[in-house]
């Protein structure tokens, strides 16, 4: 087991035994990631901060139910995603967008026509913060049905099955949304990254 994960097992055990400092160390290790998940899903800073707090409070209360058969980080992400989805659904109750709403079938979809390539490392033409703003903007512009799937799969690197389970979707539905979401993102980044 890599040293940082071994260390993590020790920290979790200590936190379970009531060592607050051990838990704080775990929190500091992952708070940026958890905030990113929350912000990507809810799209709002205040909501993301609420989710961050609620997720870690819940994690602390339920530490005993962490079995150690998944990564601690994955376990945390699941808690945060559930909190974020609750916020998202609450905020959208009277609007038309629903996360589990079936999306139109692919029959009409065709390969985008594209002749302009991006070059090898298109992201390197931007400064770090500028790039971050571009990436966030593109992600935010996706509808939540696509955004949640792409965030979990391509930003947080969860598997298709984990994503399906978390979102309460079938595996084929995740795959369809992932493809659509990826194509939409690509299209939105195109104007920044295309050559010339």
């Amino acid at each position: 087991m890599p040293a940082h994960l071994e260390n993590e097992v020790t920290l979790i055990a200590a936190a379970r035994a009531g060592n607050g400092e051990a838990f704080t160390t775990l929190v500091n290790q992952y708070d940026r990631n958890i905030y990113r998940v929350a912000l990507n899903i809810t799209g709002k800073q205040e909501d993301a901060e609420d989710v961050l707090q609620e997720a870690f409070l819940k994690a602390y209360t339920n530490l005993d139910s962490f079995r150690g058969n998944s990564r601690f980080y994955t376990w945390l992400v699941r808690i945060a995603v559930n909190e974020a989805l609750m916020k998202l659904r609450k905020g959208r109750r009277d609007r038309s967008v629903s996360l589990d709403e079936p999306i139109a079938t692919d029959d009409g979809e065709s390969m985008p026509r594209e002749i302009e390539d991006w070059g090898d490392s298109p992201e390197q033409s931007y400064a770090k913060t500028e790039l971050q703003a571009i990436l966030n903007g593109a992600m935010e512009s996706l509808e939540p049905q696509f955004r949640t799937v792409v965030v979990l799969r391509d930003v947080e690197n969860l598997s298709t099955e984990e994503t399906a389970e978390l979102l309460g979707l079938s595996v084929p539905a995740v795959k369809t949304r992932l493809l659509r979401g990826r194509l939409k993102l690509r299209e939105r980044l195109n104007k920044y990254f295309k050559r010339g």
């Binding site: 009531g18 607050g20 838990f23 704080t24 929190v27 500091n28 708070d31 940026r32 990631n33 905030y35 990113r36 800073q45 901060e49 961050l52 707090q53 870690f56 409070l57 602390y60 209360t61 692919d106 979809e109 065709s110 390969m111 985008p112 026509r113 594209e114 002749i115 302009e116 390539d117 991006w118 298109p122 992201e123 971050q132 990436l135 992600m139 792409v150 391509d154 930003v155 690197n157 795959k175 992932l178 493809l179 990826r182 194509l183 993102l185 690509r186 980044l189 195109n190 990254f193």
Partner: protein, 78 residues
Amino acid sequence: MNCKGVLNELSEYLDGNLEPALIEELRRHLECCDDCRVVVDTTRKTIEIYCNTEPMPLPQGIRERLERTLAKKLKRPS
């Protein structure tokens, strides 16, 4: 395989989950179709760019407020 076929297999291909026979077919199509080649290539880069981003530092004050909220909880024996 035609353009539509490439689109259907695109995600599996980029995730490395496509069967070898289909990979072969897909690559043969890419050799003669510039549109698909560019879309496959730029979609791959899109995924790579997102996969490789490190989370940004937390905005001002968030970590402090989080620690304060947690401290209240941690002090109380549950």
